[in-house]
Amino acid sequence: MRGLLAIYQKELVSYFRSPIPYFAVSVFLVLTGFFFLRNVFETGIGTMDETLQNMGVLLLIIVPVLTMRLFSGEYTGRTMELLMTLPLKPWQIVLGKYLGATTILLLMTLATCIDLIPLYLYGNPETKTILSGYLGFVLLGMAGLAIGQFFSALTQNQIVAALGSVLVLLAFWFVGHLQSFQSSYALRSLFGYLSFSQHFADFIRGLVRSEAVMFYLIVSAIALTLNTSYLQWRR
């Protein structure tokens, strides 16, 4: 447990002391603010629905920037040799890093709550719907982080890691569109089930389905397990 905690703390310190996360989070917050202004003040509709939808798409680009360094940086800095020879189990390394990245995601999510102030001041939004949307956003982000972290473990090159995870995240986002081309019911439901965007849309509508919660958690668990097995295999 101490090892896991040490990795987690080190990750947080690394995030706060390197410029790229600041840049990525700033871009995310500026764009979120821009979409919020457009969606709410231009249309006069006092909900977070559209903005959360935009935030979800933005997340697909921002998450890989947050995760690309996680293992690639350890390889190029030659610190992987230290981590793998300290009394740590691979899952502790993987989980410690994942929790660090998740903390940054939560902080980033918290920062977007500033948009809620004008919403509650000038409008009458449904709190439950907003909470459900945010829950969906965090779960989507967690699944994205796990995938991005796994890709980071596969290569020494941070750019390759980021591009690889963007591709996979976009595929998960758009896979639902393949439904209309399928005649088979099984394939249609499979593509629907795999779609990040369809599950996320439910959350935005205020629908917290256990199936959707489980889906994001299972995707995260699979990516983290693959990540751990890969580290074990590399030995």
Binding site: V13, S14, R17, E81, L82, P87, R235
Partner: protein, 327 residues
Amino acid sequence: MSIVSSASPAIVLESVSKRYGSKTIIHDLSFTVGQGEIVGFLGPNGAGKTTTMRMIAGYTTPTSGRVTVAGLDMATQNEAAAAKIGYLPEHPPLYDVLDVSTFLRFVAKIKGVAAREIASELERVIGACRLEAVTRSEIFKLSKGYRQRLGLAQALLGKPQVLLLDEPTAGLDPGQIQETREVIRAFGETHAVLLSTHILHEVTLICQRVAIINQGRLLAIDSPGGLQRASEQTNSVVLEATAPADPLRQELLSIAGVNAVRIQLLPGRTSTHYVECQVEARDGIESHIARAVASRWELHRLERQQPTLENVFLRYVRAGVREREAA
């Protein structure tokens, strides 16, 4: 040649091999390092020193064979063994964004140093590695010498039983090299140290035994003195004498124990020669030579040359290559 150390072994390699694809990097390597022993690991670049170190440290696993550290099998008890190993890889593994004490605290926590002992443990390794001046500095600002010593400091954290050091004095200035050797020597009095280097002088200074490897094979393992004694080929006596070349050669070759003589005229002289005699490795031969030469001619200088570890090393490495080429 003693593969097994006399002390209780802290590191045991049994027929260890490592293959990457079809390429075999380490061939059937076996040796031990005892508690309270410093073993030097000697070999040219690319000999397999780093790969062997990595297998002992648990960073990579052998393709076949077994590595045991402090009685724990690295294949099955990797994590428990890791707590007993201090490892300084070839490139010190440091996080550039952290400062020195944050980094050391991070390693100490993972090594299981109790929370109340962390401060004193940090003080101990910072003192031993002379890092006092940089404890608050960010690691990316450190010079190469400091980085190397910080790498050593993290290896010493948590009082490991076994220390694996891959070229620990690389990049240090002469004063720092001296201090680092003292740290290693002091640690090695009670613990097991395996130290890879290609500085032969270092090995004679601090190691009880030397393992010479090349192309992934163990060529010899013995004490530095033992290796030198075993290397009879490089025993020679050098002298300078004023004498005619041919009679001098005949006189020298008539002495029992002198195998070959090489004579050359010293530059600018008419009859003073520089002579190199290949002799058998027994004591007293130089006095026979001195008497024989001095009784007939003028002897200016005579010196028995011990084989240097450089020569021993080169001989083993070249002989190993020749044997394999012949095979």
